[in-house]
Amino acid sequence: MVALWSAVRRRSFDSDRLVAVALALIVAVPLVVFVLLPLAAILERSFATPDGFGLDNYARYFSNDTFVGIIWNSLSVSATTTAITIVLAFWFAYALHRSAMRFKQVFRLIALIPLFAPSLVQALGILFLFGRNGLINRTFDLGIDIYGFWGIVISDVFYSFPHAFLILSAALAVADARIYESAEMLGAKGARVFRTVTLPATKYGLMSATFVVFTIVMTDFGNAMVIGGDFNVLATEIYNQVSGQANFEMGAVVGMILLIPAALAVIVEKWVMRRQVAVIGERSQPLSIRPHRRFDLAMLAYAAFVCACILMVVGMVFYASFVTLWPWNMAPSLKHYTFDVQNGIEPLWTSIWVSLMAAGIGMVFVVGGAIVVDRFRNPLTRALYFLSILPAAVPGMVLGLGYILAFNDPANPIYVIYGTIVILAICNVYHYHAQGFLIATTSVKQISGTFDEASKCLGAGLLRSLRKITVPIIMPSIISIGVFFFMRSMVTLSAVIFLVTPKTQLAAVSVLLIDDSGNHNQAAAFSVCIMFIVAMAVVALHFLMRLLGRRGTGLAQ
């Protein structure tokens, strides 16, 4: 009783407590509405039957051989692509970090190019080379049929390559020279050192990359759509069910199936991350790379080959965009840049607006979420953390379908923005919420908590501390998060494909539709514009950072 009384007495009114709760709610409510609700809608719909709830939809799905075959297709494409990508990306990262070859910076830049393009651009490039009317097929009359399994695999290797490369690069960049020296002192030679030292040290990086690539391929929609032909995978099947046949129940079932590998991948990645920590200790010595002529030359040749392939695929798209009519009239022409198609250049502008909006919303809500979770510890924050990283386990196609099921209903208040570019921007923010949130959290964690305390002691409330100290200090990260959302929104296809209307056509979706209608050159021109805008955003970020850097040095205390 006494304890209770003293607890009551201590709860004297403090407006900061109110502000903290209010801020937590401001970031929590949209997460519930735009992540949890759509998922719940899919779950509900997948069990919906004409007379209530049941497993009917699942039973129908698994009794149909075609449908079961699609699962198999997805798995085999993903497994094959993952195996190839991991090997290629590992050696590429190895060449960059463990050889003394030249041109490393250039190679690195080229390897990241596929990140700047929508997931269907790789397939587009491959088709310009190996398609029915592809350059190589026609020149040498090889009769290669690239449509289907191998087409998707090759395109997705290009698409997933930079993701794998970045993860493996991080794993290979850190190494403790002392272990390598010990191995050498003990008489181990090249291959043995690799097997006994290098591989174990990068084990977690390899696992993480494997799962990330597997998920990317499994949930990729664009490449499979463009080059898949009659070969259906889960991501295209969900689109066929929903957009083609308006069969939402079946779409929901496919969505649920698609959730499994992605969710698994996230869980495994989390598990791996927790184990990763101890590779490098405080007393580790950085590895110094000594030149080995033959090894370096071999690595140079390999890296150059990989980069040539990437450049070739992107280059074909670039080339095709300047050709009059592939493959019949190869005369150079600028006519595709006049965008003489339905809607004209409008979708590109729509994409830019949506991306800017997503960047704005992302900067406020994602950074806000990271601050709330890291700084105001209260019962809400654990749930908030979980909600914030949950989207990592939700493939775009599933999220997009969830938005239809949850919000395409005049009774829902969100319906007001349904069919506008606002819902597209919001969808992109929550689609990539987990990645943005992790970047933000990392940078919020770097700010010493005593800044907040110092500010408090100087009489500042929570909002003033945020405005005057926390936000200015992490401004560089906030800007990169904005650019991150801009880039993803420019190139994403999977979630928004369900949400675009003729009035809110996006550039990436346009590429798909225009290519589908046979106007490949026009599709290429659109792709080039998207890549150009994304590249400009990256350049802008670079210069902004340098500008901010002047005042921002020595920020981390």
């Binding site: 003293s6 007495r9 201590r10 709860r11 004297s12 403090d14 900061d16 010493s448 005593t450 800044f451 305390e453 110092a454 500010s455 408090k456 002691c457 100087l458 009489g459 500042a460 409330g461 003033r464 005057k468 100290i469 200015p472 200090i473 005042r551 921002g552 040095t553 020595g554 920020l555 205390q557």
Partner: protein, 348 residues
């Protein structure tokens, strides 16, 4: 009384960081909380600052209860170990921060910032960013920032521990003279007893969340209440008096025998006398194990009946070395009777 703590207890999970601490602080004094790491001194400071809330007990300022009042409304200036200067603001902006939150007028604000800059002698650094300053300069800015809004109490959390020895020495004097000039009641946390003795009007010795003793440097040195204080402030020989009759320390045994708990005595090394021969009746013999020349004194470790005594002899006692037998004497007035430890919440 100016600032009063009454029966303050603070727990972190299963750990009790501060246990029923009561303390009165007079206005205008410079008080040091001193103790080993983990003794609860920083927690106590943070409780006073309002950065933590006590589980039990009250904090009163001029008799008014502060409990539940958030830090930002207390107007207590705080200086952190890591300085915590806002890295995105210049020196002047840092100092002005606490004035802006309290809505000082433009003129008053800029006048106060100039005044503070002059006070810490950083007039020419006003427009630099914190990372462009040395550690000592940063800490002076932190002081200026804390003092600018005319705080009712100034709290310093190990303000010197991040600095190198030379700068630390300088700043000790500087902080002390600054405090006298401004006259603000100041509480400083430190683990360094020399720092506490040099700077404080009152020293509060904390151990395991409990106050062991409060007093001036002289009081703590000359009359330590507990074994912990005796060993923490300066050097002290702790001698366990054996029961029974006779022996080297027979003369030190209190009249009426040993009452179990109080069989510990403390003797400062410099108070043990080296006597020639056995002319004094209460002298005893010890054998030198080790002898270290320290300049002004020679510190000698002497074995006496299985116990070790540290003895400081003035000047260079070069003619004695290990194995030498010395005749020593402990004057009765040099004997401190020590409690093993102080119970929580005990009165002084």
């Amino acid at each position: 009384m100016f600032l009063q703590l009454r029966n303050i207890t603070k727990r972190f999970g299963a750990v009790t960081a501060v246990r029923k601490v009561s303390l009165d602080i007079e206005e205008g004094l410079f008080v040091c909380f001193v103790g080993p790491s983990g003794c609860g001194k920083t927690t106590l400071l943070r409780l006073i600052a309002g950065l933590e809330e006590p589980d039990e007990g009250d904090i009163l300022l001029h008799g008014r209860d502060l409990t539940g009042l958030p830090a930002r409304k207390r107007n207590f200036g705080m200086v952190f170990q890591s300085y915590s200067l806002f890295p995105n603001m210049t020196v002047a902006e840092n100092i002005a921060y606490g004035l802006e939150t309290r809505h000082w007028t433009r003129d008053a604000l800029s006048a106060r910032v100039r005044e503070m800059l002059a006070l810490v002698q950083l007039d020419d650094q006003a427009h630099k960013l914190p990372h462009q300053l040395s550690g000592g300069q940063q800490q002076r800015v932190a002081l200026a920032r804390a003092l600018a809004p005319e705080p009712r109490v100034l709290l310093l959390d190990e303000p010197l521990s991040a600095l190198d020895a030379k700068v630390r020495e300088e700043l000790r004097g500087e902080i002390r003279s600054l405090q006298s000039k401004v006259g603000v009641t100041t509480i400083m946390v430190t683990h360094d007893q020399d720092e506490a003795m040099e700077m404080a009007d009152r020293i509060v010795v904390l151990n395991a969340g409990v106050i062991e003793q409060i007093g001036t440097a002289v009081e703590l040195y000359n009359a330590p209440a507990t074994r912990f204080v005796a060993e923490f402030i300066g050097r002290m020989n702790i001698v366990a008096l054996p029961g029974g009759q006779g022996g080297a320390f027979a003369a030190l045994r209190p009249q009426g025998g040993i009452d179990g708990d109080r069989n510990l005595i403390g003797v400062r090394p410099e108070h043990i006398q080296w006597v020639s021969g056995q002319d004094a009746g209460d002298a005893f013999i010890g054998e030198i194990e080790r002898s270290v020349f320290l300049g002004n004194v020679t510190r000698v470790t002497v074995a006496v009946e299985g116990q070790r005594l540290l003895v400081e002899l003035p000047g260079a006692a070069t003619d004695i070395g290990p194995g030498t037998r010395l005749s020593l004497r402990i004057p009765p007035e040099a004997v401190h009777r020590l409690a093993e430890r102080r119970p929580p919440g005990g009165e002084d």
